[in-house]
Amino acid sequence: MVNIQNIILSFRDKPGGIIEAFHAVQKEYNYLPEETIAVAAGTFGISEAQAFGVATFYSYLSVAKRGKYVIRMCESAPCHIAGAEALIKAFEEALEIKVGETTADGKFTLELTECVGQCQDTPVITINSVPYVNLDPAQVPAVLALCQ
């Protein structure tokens, strides 16, 4: 894996680049490991409190450790009426975790999200940002099997 320091440093000269730097770190690690905040604060000349404030403002960024596959379930109104709740339950049962948790083997994290812009084919989930659409609970095992 690329060193966090190097990732963040490459955004040093970009005005306002801290969010881009966070995206780049998260792309590599799936979340923002603890040192990210201190390194980013130093690189962009702000306090750690400010850097943490930025990181935690954005729901797409996570300061908590997450699994290799981050499954996000859209619960906005169009997905809600298309059966989002039943789908969430099916994922919870299949993974034996609750929303917001990560499986013991560190493979899966289950999260809720608002609309991800694929509302023509509801309900929608994303796995590491790739959308999977028109799902029904019976397809959950097959979807999970895609994650190897």
Binding site: P15, G16, I19, Y58, S76, I81, E114, C119, Q120, S129
Partner: protein
């Protein structure tokens, strides 16, 4: 019957979005070429005259907005709002995925009008696959020297709905928490890094090449006189065909749902449609013959907003859906101002109580007063619009609320 009319999506599925050569062959960059032969003030006058109004929700006259940028400003910025966080909306994604160059050309036209050398596209974090396409498109346009001394950079949002608000978006590009600013000053005077900045929506920019090329009279004659042109709409929910379409702004909701959407799925009956995204009003059957243009929608207490059309059939539970929407706003409130931070929390609390059959008439009274206060007292459009689904469902679907109340 109203026919589709394609301006923004004129090239959709006809060209390869990854090949700028295709776009050029279809007449691409001729609008920019023509714009560059005009003086800045003439160009702004033309856009004003076309009466193109912003497609991001607020429907402000595009040329008028540009004219706020001081002519002697040494630095100014063009920002494209591609945050598209309004649930039920995917039109900007469709526009960019089908024809990214039309957005870039539109931004460069704006760049010429306000003498800007730098553009930013703020793309929501949920669309990394579209960011890739945009960067490819920018490379191609730059490689051919089409953008001249105007450069464009893509920045990614972080999943905060409020960052679609233009000053919150600017804060986010600057690398801060995306909290809206107090206005004035407006971005046209002091926006990104305190410099004059134009913020427009993807669809607004994508309209520009055709307007410049065909002239403002051509555009002004399409659709409704007060809100001319077309609108890209995204159909979701219980319609038979969940499609995205581009129609003249004179099209009515009924035409959209029945002619383009194919009516209600599985032969069921219509109950309600929410237009403009999750912050839009709910509309009953009796108002379906309203045209979609901004002012007509305002006239029935609704909003065109982003052009999301969320259809609900007779089996849908209005109170439950409105509760879900209240949760959305409670979650997305940025917390900067009290009426929204506390108001969205309380509104969700009361909606849950109603939804669970635990509320009494006084709760609805309180909810109504709270909603009215929020509409007036919230700092930005998020808090101001958050009560719209509640107030419009109370108005048009009151029996559904009543049936949930405890009788004592």
């Amino acid at each position: 019957m109203t026919e589709e009319k394609r301006i923004v999506l004129r090239n959709a599925d006809l060209i390869n979005p990854k090949k700028i050569e295709d776009y050029m062959q279809a007449g691409g960059y001729q609008g920019l070429e023509k714009a560059r032969l005009m003086s800045r003030s003439d160009l702004i006058a033309e856009i004003k005259k076309s009466n193109l109004r912003g497609r991001g929700g607020a429907a402000f006259n595009c040329g008028l907005k540009w004219s706020f940028v001081p002519t002697d400003a040494p630095v100014s910025y063009v920002v494209c709002n591609f945050d598209e966080g309004e649930p039920g909306t995917y039109k900007d994604r469709i526009i960019v995925q089908k024809d990214p160059q039309s957005l870039l050309e539109g931004m460069a036209i704006c760049g010429h009008a306000v003498n800007s050398k730098q553009g930013y596209i703020y793309c929501r974090g949920e669309y990394p696959y579209v960011v890739e396409l945009l960067n490819l498109a920018i490379d191609q346009a730059r490689g051919k020297g089409l953008l001249g001394d105007f450069d464009i950079e893509v920045r990614m949002g972080g999943g905060a709905y409020v960052c679609g608000e233009e000053t919150a978006l600017i804060e986010s590009i600057e690398g801060h928490r995306g909290e809206p600013r107090f206005k004035p000053p407006f971005p046209g005077v002091a926006g990104l890094w305190a410099q004059p900045t134009v913020v427009n929506n993807v669809e607004t920019f994508a309209n520009l090449p055709s307007i410049v090329l065909n002239g403002p009279e051509w555009f002004a004659a399409i659709g409704a006189p007060n809100y001319p042109g077309t609108k890209v709409l995204t159909l979701t929910g219980d319609v038979a065909n969940r499609v995205s379409i581009e129609v003249p702004t004179t099209a009515t909701l009924r035409e959209i749902i029945y002619d383009f959407g194919g009516g209600i799925k599985e032969g069921k009956k219509f109950k309600a449609v929410q237009v403009g995204g999750t912050s839009g009003g709910f509309i009953p059957e009796s108002l379906l013959d309203t045209p979609i243009d901004f002012d007509s929608m305002r006239g029935i207490g609704a909003t065109l907003g982003t052009g999301a059309v969320f259809v609900m059939d007779e089996t849908r539970d209005i109170v439950d859906i409105t509760t879900r929407i209240a949760k959305f706003f409670e979650h997305e409130s940025c917390g900067k101002c009290n009426p929204c931070r506390e108001g969205t929390f309380r509104a969700y609390e009361i909606m849950k109580k109603i939804n669970n059959g635990k509320a009494v008439a006084q709760d609805i009274e309180n909810l109504t007063i709270l909603s009215q206060v929020m509409e007036k007292a919230c700092l930005c459009g998020l808090g101001q619009a958050a009560p719209a689904p509640i107030l419009t469902t109370l108005k048009h679907f009151y029996p559904e609320y009543q049936a949930r109340l405890q009788i004592h």
